[in-house]
Structure formats: C-alpha cells, structure tokens
C-alpha cells in the first residue's frame, strides 16, 4: 500500500514536471545566470512568473556571492506551505535569494498556534536554531527585552545589501518594527482592520428606499461611524437580500476564543476609549489622551474604564446583527460567510480584499466596498469623567491591529549579514509590492507605494494584472490607505513584555462576555486585575518604564 502510494506520488510529480515543460515560454532575461523558470518554480502561471522576474530585475539586488557563498540561513515562519499566506513568499523568492547570495535558505515552518511557544523555548534553552524569525508585532517586546534579537540599524549604511525604502513604510506600522528608536523588523506585511461592505447592496436604490423607510435615515455609503454601521447591519440582518431563499446576516465577525477575536474588540473600542490631545499636537501622549492600555503614570489598566466597557457592550450589540454562531468562528468561517455573500459587512484585515478576488474563496468579486475603520459618535472622556456624544463630529481613531508579520534577526546568528540580506530583499520595493498585489501571499499593504495617488504611486492596473477586479482594487486599496493616513490619531499597540499573556487573558474574558457568562464590566474588571498581576510578576517598575518608552510618553 505504501509503495503504491509512493508510486502514485512519483507518477504525479513526473506528470507535473512534464506539464510545466510543455508551456515553457522563452525568457530573454536572466538573473545571476538563471532564467525565470529556474528562479520561480513555484509560480502559478506565466504572467505571475514574468511579473516576478520583472520585479526581481527592478530590485537590482547586489551580487553577494563573494560574501555569503556556501553559508546557510535558517528562517522560522508561520506554516502555511509553499503557496500559503505569509510562508508562501519566502518560498517563492528562495531561489532568487540563493542565486544572489550563493547561500542556502532553510525555511522552518511552525504551525502558527505553536509559533511563540516553539521559538521562545528555543531561545530559553539556548538552542538558538534560527537566524531570522518572522514574528507577530506583539512578540517584539518579549524578544527585545529578553535580548533575543538585534537591531538592524548598523546594516543600513553598509554597501552590498538590497535597498529598501524605510521612508515609504506607513508611520504607524514603522513604529511596530522599531524599539526605542531602532529598527528591529524589516517591512513585510502591514496589518490594520478596515471595513468591508457589499457595495452592490448598499447602493441598490430599492434597498436604499427601504432603509430610509424603516430607519428614517439615508443609507450611509460607506458607513462612517460604528453607529451607522450598526443601523445598516441591523436593517439587513434576517432579510433575504442575496435572494438565496433564506434570511442572511448583517455582520460577520471572527469572535472565537483563541481565534483572534480580541482583535475585533481592539479596533472597535479604540474610538470609544481614546481621546485626542488638546492643542496643536493632537497625537501627543498624555496621561489622559492617546492612551489605551495602561495609565502611563502608574500602569493602572484602563481596560475596564467606561469607554472600553461601552465598546464591549456595543460589540455585543453589533454581533447580534449577525449569526449567533459568530462567537465560535475563526477567520476562515467569518471570512467565508462574507465572501460567500451571506453577510453585508465585516471588518477585518486586508486579506478579505485580496481573497475576494479568488474564485475558490469568494462569490463577491466586483461587489466589494471598502472603507477605513468607522469612527464613534460616542466616546468616553477620561479626564472629564463623562461620555461625549456628537454625531456630527465623531471621534476617529485608526489602528494597526494584527500581527503585521515581519522578520527580525536573532541576536545569536552566525550570519547577520546574510540574515539582513534576506530581510532587506523581501522589503525591497519591487519585491514587497509584488507580494502585496498578489493576494495569495497573505502580505497586506504596508508602504505608500502600495497605495494610489496622491499618497502612493501604484495604479489600479498593477492590481488588475494580478487578477483583481478594478472596482474592488480601488475600494480595498483606497480604504486600506485611508485607514493608515486619514485618521487624526492612532491607537497605540501594546508593546511590553508579557503581551502574549495579556492578550490571552483579554481573549478569554472577552469570550466569556460574548456568551453572557460575564457582563462586559465583570469581564473587563477581571482582565484589569489579571493584567496587574502579570505586571507585578514581571516587575512593575521595569514594565512601566518599557511601557512609557514603547508609546513615547514622557512623564
């Protein structure tokens, strides 16, 4: 049986090789003496291969074989396979990297749920297996403070490395890769949550009329505040607006415990809980303004403040305009529901915009609407101790919610130069941009060149070439860009040791509030209490210092 299986596998491989052999297109250009065929064996089709080759040549990678030939670089990445999100692009560019450096790139894929455990254990035990690790932004504090990774700045001025444009990285994103002024991460993926909705449905005159009749409001396209979004999803929830014969959903969220549900809460609660500073610099971090996690003076958790609690209550209300099953959904289920045309809106990462273009994942290509994350008409002013309600001038706060999966360099690597070469190569504009406009890579926009003018330099045609519907590309990329550039202030990211622990706590307690085991107030009170405990265990004074440095607060 086993032999049969092996025979079958080898036959299949032979067949695949033969098939790829029949469609060889002559490539005039080569890189380091290698053809596009040799460099991109993993390309899905000839267009993708040609685009990749063009990007590679444009990246103008320096020949580093003299320096690195014969060396081996070990990279740890979240496992999803050679064509999967986040791990895929490292495979895709591996041959090119090896051609440019003469080194070998060893890719170690680790299931994402175990990634933090596996890499941390590796460091704690002094095994130090990995030269480069692709991490989620919330690992950074633990990694830096434990002395496991090193800054990249010393390499920036050196010759012989690929050039990447640090100025182009979205500022709020660049903050996540830096620690106390130094870069530890190189650009790869850029995460923030934005709003997606069904443009075809919300702009349908019949639905608009019905909406007006039922709510007395004009249909907001796109919904600009959470309150508007709630009105929309409430209206559509339970109606058969996709004409499939059963009632459909308003919102579709991934709220499962251990399924990144707490990220929804973070993005949604930001405009309920964060206030801009007074004066000219509204982004200034003060005791009361632009802070979200802890009081920057004494590390008192703010998570159970009235604004946060109100946001959780609101999230429950919003979730009630969708399937009750949402509390058990993870990314795949929630996205599926929206991409299959069963929900009128969702807010999530850039992935939804790119997955909507893939026919094996989506039926809504060409019907996508995208906008920046909504603002809130009601928020809590902690300094005054009151809620403010103002629907004309809502409070808008952007986010960088998510992992923004980027590579960092081990402090113990034997080959720092080679490690930096890989990181810089992946961050080089043409290559990074290629990864962004090919959605299968899981790499979301993170630099201005991914966006359309006036901020960026990309064109809709770039995205259409990679299979996007032109309207969808416009909606998604514009919305994503506004998410990073049009909000007056931004939510700070939690960057202190123990963040992984704190988010697990938040995730668990939010889950209990979602299924009504705890009230929002009780749940967040417990979170505050347990976060305090974590800070005490790790050393409160040092935690406070790191927190202040991380958000840029000067007492």
């Amino acid at each position: 049986m086993n032999r049969k299986f092996l025979v079958f596998v080898s036959l299949l491989s032979v067949l695949l090789v033969l098939m790829s052999g029949t469609v060889v297109v002559a490539q005039g250009e080569t890189f380091m003496g290698k053809t596009a065929e040799e460099l991109f064996p993993g390309a899905a089709d000839e267009t993708e291969r040609a685009n990749a080759m063009a990007a590679l040549l444009e990246a103008n990678l320096p020949d580093a074989t003299g320096q690195f030939a014969g060396q081996t670089l070990t990279l740890a990445v979240q496992q999803a396979g050679a064509r999967g999100g986040i791990s895929g692009p490292y495979y895709f560019w591996r041959e090119a990297f090896q051609a440019a450096t003469g080194a070998t790139l060893e890719i170690v894929e680790i299931p994402q749920a175990q990634y933090f455990t596996t890499t941390s254990t590796d460091f704690l035990t002094g095994q130090n297996s990995y030269d480069v690790m692709n991490i989620g932004a919330w690992f950074l504090a633990d990694y830096v403070v434990n002395g496991w990774i090193q800054p990249l700045d010393p390499f920036f001025e050196q010759e012989g490395f690929p050039v990447w444009d640090r100025e182009a990285v979205f500022p709020s994103l660049a903050n996540l890769m830096k620690w106390e002024g130094q870069w530890y991460g190189a650009l790869n993926d850029g995460d923030a949550q934005m709003l997606y909705y069904r443009k075809d449905i919300l702009t349908d005159p019949d639905w608009q009329a019905a909406f007006k009749e039922e709510t007395g409001m004009d249909m907001p396209v796109p919904p600009k505040t959470w309150q508007q979004l709630l009105a929309v999803t409430k209206f559509f929830n339970g109606k058969d607006w996709n004409e499939d014969g059963d009632p459909d959903d308003g919102i579709s969220l991934h709220l499962r415990t251990g399924g990144q549900g707490m990220f929804h809460f973070m993005s949604l609660s930001a405009p309920f809980a964060i206030t801009p500073a007074e004066g000219d610099d509204i982004g200034k971090i003060t005791k009361y303004d632009n802070v979200y996690w802890f009081d920057p003076d004494d590390l008192t958790p703010l998570i159970n403040q009235p604004g946060h609690v109100a946001a959780l209550e609101f999230l429950k209300e919003l979730a009630a305009t969708g399937s009750t099953a949402q509390f058990g959904w993870e990314l795949a289920e929630a996205w599926n529901n929206f991409l299959n045309g069963n929900a009128v809106a969702t807010f999530s990462w850039g992935d939804v915009g790119s997955l909507a273009q893939d026919p094996s994942r989506s039926t809504i290509q060409g019907k996508l609407g995208g906008a920046r994350i909504p603002c809130s008409e009601k928020w809590y002013d902690r300094e005054a101790g009151v809620f403010v309600e103002d629907s004309a001038n809502p409070n808008c706060v952007g986010n960088t919610t998510g992992g923004s999966w980027y590579p960092v360099m081990s402090a113990f690597t034997d080959t720092p130069g080679l490690a930096y070469y890989l990181m810089a190569m992946q961050a080089a504009k043409p290559i990074n941009f290629f990864n962004v406009y090919y959605g299968w890579t899981g790499v979301d926009p993170g630099a201005t060149y991914d966006l359309f003018p006036p901020i960026g330099t990309a064109s809709v045609d770039d995205y259409v070439a990679a299979g996007y519907n032109a309207d969808d590309a416009l909606e998604y990329i514009t919305g994503y860009g506004e998410n990073f550039f049009s909000h007056p202030i931004y939510q700070t990211y939690l960057r202190i040791p123990g963040t992984e622990t704190m988010w697990t706590i938040l995730d668990t307690r939010l889950g209990q509030a979602m299924i009504d085991e705890l009230t929002p107030q009780e749940a967040l009170d417990l979170v505050a209490q347990e976060w305090d405990q974590v800070n005490n265990d790790l050393g409160r004074e040092e935690q406070l210092r790191v927190y202040q440095a991380g958000i840029g607060y000067v007492p």
Binding site: G42, A80, A82, E109, P111, T117, T125
Partner: protein, 296 residues
C-alpha cells in the same frame, strides 16, 4: 510447546447466540449498522471535504456534482506540490513510531514479565503504580526539562530524539499491558521448565515469549497509536528535519484561518497507514488483550 502456542492462537471465536429470533437479528443488525456509521461518520465528512474548495468547505452539501462541484485542488496540493514534504513527514512519523514502538515493547515485555513473575523488595505494586504515575504528569510541564535533556544528548530536532521521547511516554502502557498478560497466564509450564533445569532467561525466551506474541502485538499497536498521534513535543523539539506528520496536520491552521480541504486530506493520509497496519495485525490485538486482561 509449539502445539500449545498454536492452540492458544487458534482458539475459536465464541459467538454468543442470543439473537436467534427474527426480530432479535434485525435489531442486532440495526445496532451493528449504527455502530459502523458512528465510527465512520467523521471520516465520510473528511472524504467529502477533501474534494471541496475552501469556499464550499463549510456548506452543508454532501453529494458531489449534484450539490457541489468536486475539486481535486486539495489532493493535488498534497500529493503534487507538497509531495516532498508529505513523504518526508510521513517517513519521519513511520520511523519515529516504529522505533518507539519497538523499544517500548521490548523494554515493556521484559519489565512486565519481571513484575508478573518475580518478587521485589520494594513491592511489585509500588513499582507498577510508580510506572503508571509517569503517565499522570501533564507532558506540558516536562517539555522544557525534556528539551534540556535532549539538548545535552544533542538530539534536538532528530528522529532518535523523538523516538526517545515517545518511548518514554508509551513505555508505561507496554509495561502495564504485558504485566497483566503474564500475571494472568498460568506459569505451570514455566515451572516445569525450571524443574528441567532451564535458567530464567531460557525460560523467558523459549517458553514465555512465544506464548506472548499476541499480547506483544497488542501492546505494540497501542504504543504505535500514541507515538503516531503525538504533536505537542514534536512541535517544539523537532520543527525542522525530524518533524512528524501531525505537524502538517496542525499547520492547516494558518495565519489566515483553518484550511479545511488540506485538513481533510491530511487527516485521511495520516489515518491510512496505521489502519492498513492494524488490518494485518488486528487478530493478534484481540487475542493478546483477551489473554491479558481477563481473570485479572
């Protein structure tokens, strides 16, 4: 001796003939069908899901062509592009499981025999309950110390390292099963051999061991199942060269959510080999456990 062994193995299946009435037989068959359906149910869904795209994976559709368009996408990904990884991980899993099973069974048979046949000053029951208590410690608590042990032995991310880990974890099972078997098996023959002047080692090798073949097989199957299914230690200790197949199964949950099609194919691939194996050896399992577990 050979005849005795044959006799033991050829013991006929004793069927209890209660359901002789027509109604009884119908009810019996209904129950059998229900039992089979209960066991096969998740596998049937895995087969269906393995032919679905991610978009369709959660749709309540069952019948291909009629309700959904079957796609070979998942299977071709596993056996085409991913073939190298699949065979590598399966190969590791096979080596690890067979290595650990062999070691655990050999050691378990010796120790089980010892605990059933001899008396020790420290108290046989104390030894047995100490062996069993090894299984109680949550493995997560010993992961880092284990890592340090393997590191000292330079066995991190190696197949021998995982064989060692899995042997240690499954050995208590093998010891308990073999002890039960030998304890329940009449030792008259062995005592006769002793009178004939054979030494304990000869008795063990020539008398006890041949009789124990079925029980050994049973212990082996159980150890194999545990080694084959182990994920947690492997995920930390052997993420690179020695990764077993459970690693690939777990990795269907990516930063973009669970890919259900890959999950289904991988689960089916993972189950194939042990099931085939169990088909060949299963008559020994039942026989072995029957001799071991009863009359305790």
């Amino acid at each position: 001796m050979a005849t005795l062994n044959k006799e033991a193995a050829a013991q006929p299946v004793r069927a209890v003939q209660i359901g002789r009435s027509r109604l009884g037989r119908i009810l019996l068959w209904v129950a059998v069908v229900v039992a089979i359906v209960w066991v096969l149910y998740p596998f049937v869904w895995a087969v269906i899901t393995s032919f679905k795209t991610q978009r369709e994976a959660l749709e309540p559709t069952i019948i291909p062509f009629l309700q959904f368009q079957p796609s070979m996408e998942n299977w071709s990904a596993e056996l085409g592009l991913g073939a190298r990884e699949t065979t590598l991980a399966l190969g590791n899993s096979i080596t690890i499981s067979i290595g650990a099973t062999t070691l655990a069974t050999v050691l378990g048979t010796l120790t089980g025999y010892a605990l059933a046949r001899f008396r020790y000053g420290i108290g046989n029951r104390n030894i047995v309950s100490w062996v069993l208590s090894q299984r109680f410690l949550p493995p997560v608590a010993t992961l880092i110390p284990f890592f340090l042990v393997l590191q000292r032995l330079q066995l991190i991310d190696t197949v021998p390292g995982l064989i060692l880990v899995n042997t240690t974890f499954t050995l208590p099972f093998a010891i308990l099963i073999m002890r039960d078997f030998f304890a329940d098996f009449p030792d008259e023959i062995e005592e006769a051999a002793l009178v004939d002047g054979a030494n304990p080692l000869q008795i063990f090798l020539r008398v006890a061991l041949p009789l124990a073949t079925p029980a050994i097989t049973a212990a082996a199957i159980i150890c194999f199942a545990f080694a084959w299914n182990e994920y947690l230690f492997a995920s930390v200790i052997a993420p690179k060269d020695a990764k077993p197949y459970t690693f690939l199964v777990a990795s269907t949950s990516t930063v973009r959510g669970v890919h259900f099609g890959y999950l289904a194919t991988r689960m089916l691939i993972a189950i194939t080999l042990p099931v085939v194996l169990s088909l060949f050896v299963q008559r020994y399992i039942v026989r072995g456990l029957s001799l071991g577990a009863v009359k305790g």
